[in-house]
């Protein structure tokens, strides 16, 4: 199983998101990540959906998405063949960071601020696999993560 990204351009209507997620559910996909937002044209939305599967499954599901009346355009690509980013907002326990250097090893990480003494806030902008790696890296260095909020992947 590999990660595939489905990029869909749709009309910005209520219910489109529900049709998408309903389809994925009934075709027995667990959504790895899904983001949606307006474009420069407020009538048009752009979806980035990440699923786990093989190429055949990804192409099949893309064709089903294409069949929705409100879907204008669909592309399907392998995750590692596409430019993608994910944002994380992270709070870690300040006194668990014994060596501040661990926060600067990954280039996508920015230390935003120290909050009221005992928490540090980080912002991570990176590929999702790098984000996973950073998460593991902090755990390996006994950094106590209080909160980790991920935006889901966006890709072009």
């Amino acid at each position: 199983m590999e990660k595939y990204v489905i990029l869909a351009v749709t009309e910005n209507h209520p219910g489109v998101l529900s049709r998408m997620t309903g389809l994925l559910r009934r075709k027995m996909f667990n959504i790895d990540s899904l983001t949606v937002g307006k474009t420069t044209n407020p009538r048009i939305s752009r979806f980035t959906i990440v699923i786990l599967g093989n190429e055949k499954q990804a192409r099949k599901i893309a064709r089903n998405i294409e069949n929705f009346i409100e879907v204008i355009e669909v592309h399907v690509m392998k995750m590692d063949e596409i430019v993608s980013r994910e944002i994380s907002l992270v709070r870690v326990k300040a006194d668990s960071v014994s060596d501040p250097e661990v926060l600067f090893v990954f280039p996508g990480v920015e230390v935003k601020e120290r909050l009221d003494g005992d928490e540090i806030e980080l912002e991570v902008i990176d590929r999702d696999d790098q984000t996973d790696n950073f998460m593991q890296y902090l755990l390996d260095h006994d950094v106590l993560v209080e909160k980790w909020v991920r935006s889901g992947v966006i890709a072009v």
Binding site: T10, E11, G15, K60, E66, N67, F68, I69
Partner: protein
């Protein structure tokens, strides 16, 4: 002009002559205005019947049937009929009222999220809160329902939108009869034909030694019957058909092998099982026709003509694909076949000879019936009906017996709930089909008939001339058959205690008969045929424990088609 007027005026402009409907609180603004429009209301007695009647109309005429129900339970009662239409690709517009806009989301009385409930079973749906949107939404709904791969479209309209006045500019445009602009940037309607693999497909067909054509519902949905016949004539390939393919080509020739699948003919299943090339035309390779997939797809090449790209390589891996309306793509392939230097048919002589022999050997009903069986009634019916008559069936044994034996000269003459297999379909579907102007025979079993028996009242009140037949074997026959064959005769809840059906019909004021022996069958059927003053009914008390053969046990290969309990086609 209020939203209800905009709805009815647009329906009228779309050529809708009748709607199958049931009133209720959330559609009162529409009902209030209905008498002002030239649209006949058919008052069903359960909303499910409205959906099936609308479907029956679509199936029989090729048009778009319309049903209407109120909010809450009215809307949820449509659900089975909508799901059935989705699985069988039937164009239909289902309209529901919903509560006032300001009450939406408050769990108001008779409020349900019908758009949400129906999301996986519609081709498209609309939730309308603004009266001004009604003309455009209806225009789009009819277009979406009918174009491309057809399907049901749901329009849920709040009572507020039904009651509000429209902007004067929109009223002016409706009254002037100007075309309503649709706004569907993501919808192509009929896809542009993709014939990029045409040469591959032609070569595969020409080089085949044991080819077979499977044609299905796509042929009549596309209106491509003549183009299919030309394809069969040019290639001389033996052909089999799906439940919904019945009547789409000449089905009486020596190489017309019958319906295929779980209850297909021995010859049809034998041909598909042994074919080196399968040409699927307007079919979707569903499990009831393929049997065990890995055997369906072994040592053969499969080419597929379809309108929906999502069907390609869905269940079987293809060797050639032709996308588009069959009425557009088949002529291109036919022309290529005619122009080619290939000696069509030169390699298939031996194969055709073999199949002709099998067809004779495995002929259905070789012996005259001695007692009243469902097969006997069905065969007598087919002897007396006219070629324009329509037969609707329910689901189960009678459906399969009727499908195996019907060779109408035209498509849209055998109406069945194929994909969903919905019991209770036949009678209300026949009510809708009656508006095609043809005589309609509805066949049901004793189980399915009780699921929509209340439609007797609809037939009487609206004087709908359906010829209603119940084949009563006092069992849920098909389920009993499975219990007999696979669950050691453990007949749990399949024996049925039934009412005196003819007495029930009579209580509704419908002329009725009960037939208990073979010799009365034809005479009563003739009486039903001659009757033209509304509905007429007959119950046939048939043999109780007959089994439908041929049969492929669920999940097994077509090669395991049982001709009877002890013999398969490979024996």
């Amino acid at each position: 002009m209020i939203g209800a007027d905009a709805l009815l005026a647009t329906l009228e402009r779309k050529g809708v002559k009748e709607i199958f409907a049931y009133p209720g609180g959330a559609v009162l603004p529409i009902y209030d205005r209905m008498p002002n429009y030239d649209i006949r209301r058919i008052l069903v007695r359960h909303e499910q019947a409205a959906a099936f009647a609308a479907q029956g109309y679509s199936r029989a005429t090729g048009g778009v049937g319309v049903c209407l129900a109120t909010s809450g339970p009215g809307a949820t009662n449509l659900v089975t009929g909508i799901a059935d239409a989705k699985l069988d690709n039937i164009p239909m517009v289902a309209i529901t009222g919903n509560v006032f806009t300001h009450l939406i989301g408050t769990d108001a009385f008779q409020e349900v999220d019908i758009v949400g409930i129906c999301e996986p079973i519609v081709k498209h749906s609309y939730f309308v809160t603004d009266a001004n949107e009604i003309p455009r939404v209806l225009e789009e709904a009819f277009y979406v329902a009918k174009s491309g791969r057809p399907g049901p479209v749901l329009i849920d309209i709040t009572k507020t939108a039904q009651s509000d006045s429209l902007d004067p500019a929109i009223v002016k445009s409706i009254l002037s009869g100007e075309p309503v602009e649709i706004d569907l940037p993501g919808y192509l309607g009929d896809p542009e034909p993709d014939l990029s693999e045409a040469n591959t497909v032609v070569d595969i067909i020409a080089e085949a030694e044991r080819p077979v054509v499977i044609y299905g519902h796509g042929v009549n949905l596309s209106g491509a019957e003549a183009e299919l016949q030309e394809f069969l004539d040019i290639t001389g390939i033996p052909h089999v058909w799906t439940l919904h393919g019945i009547g789409s080509a000449d089905e009486t020739g020596e190489l017309a092998l019958g319906m295929l699948g779980m209850h297909g003919t021995g010859t049809a299943n034998y041909a598909v099982h042994h074919a080196d090339v399968i040409v699927g035309i307007g079919i979707r390779f569903d499990d009831r026709i393929t049997g065990l997939l890995k055997e369906f797809q072994s040592n053969n090449k499969i080419v597929h003509f379809d309108i929906d790209r999502a069907e390609f390589d869905k269940n079987v891996d293809l060797d050639g694909r032709i996308l588009g309306q069959l009425r557009e793509t088949l002529p291109v392939i036919n022309q290529k076949l005619k122009n080619s230097e290939l000696e069509l048919g030169s390699k298939i002589g031996e194969w055709c000879g073999l199949l002709r022999g099998k067809k004779k050997e495995w002929k259905l009903d070789p012996n005259k019936p001695k007692v009243l069986t469902e097969i006997a009634v069905i065969n007598e019916l087919y002897k007396i009906i006219d070629q324009d008559d329509i037969v609707t069936v329910d689901v189960g044994q009678h459906e399969m017996w009727a499908a195996q034996r019907f060779f109408p000269k035209k498509s849209r003459k055998f109406l069945a709930s194929g994909g969903a297999g919905t019991m209770g379909f036949s009678f209300p579907a026949a009510i809708g089909a009656a508006f095609s102007g043809n005589d309609v025979w509805s066949i049901s079993g004793d189980g399915g008939f009780q699921m929509n028996i209340q439609e007797f009242a609809t037939c009487v009140q609206d004087k709908i001339p359906v010829k209603i037949m119940v084949l009563n074997n006092s069992f849920l026959g098909m389920v009993r058959q499975w219990q007999e064959l696979f669950y050691d005769n453990n007949y749990v809840d399949t024996p049925l205690v039934n009412p005196d059906f003819a007495a029930v019909a009579a209580a509704y004021g419908i002329p009725s008969f009960t037939v208990t022996n073979l010799k009365d069958t034809t005479e009563v059927l003739q009486k039903m045929k001659a009757y033209n003053d509304g509905p007429i009914f007959c119950e046939f008390k048939v043999e109780k424990e007959e089994n439908v053969f041929p049969m492929v046990p669920a999940g097994e290969s077509l090669g395991n088609t049982k001709l009877n309990k002890d013999t398969t086609i490979e024996d």
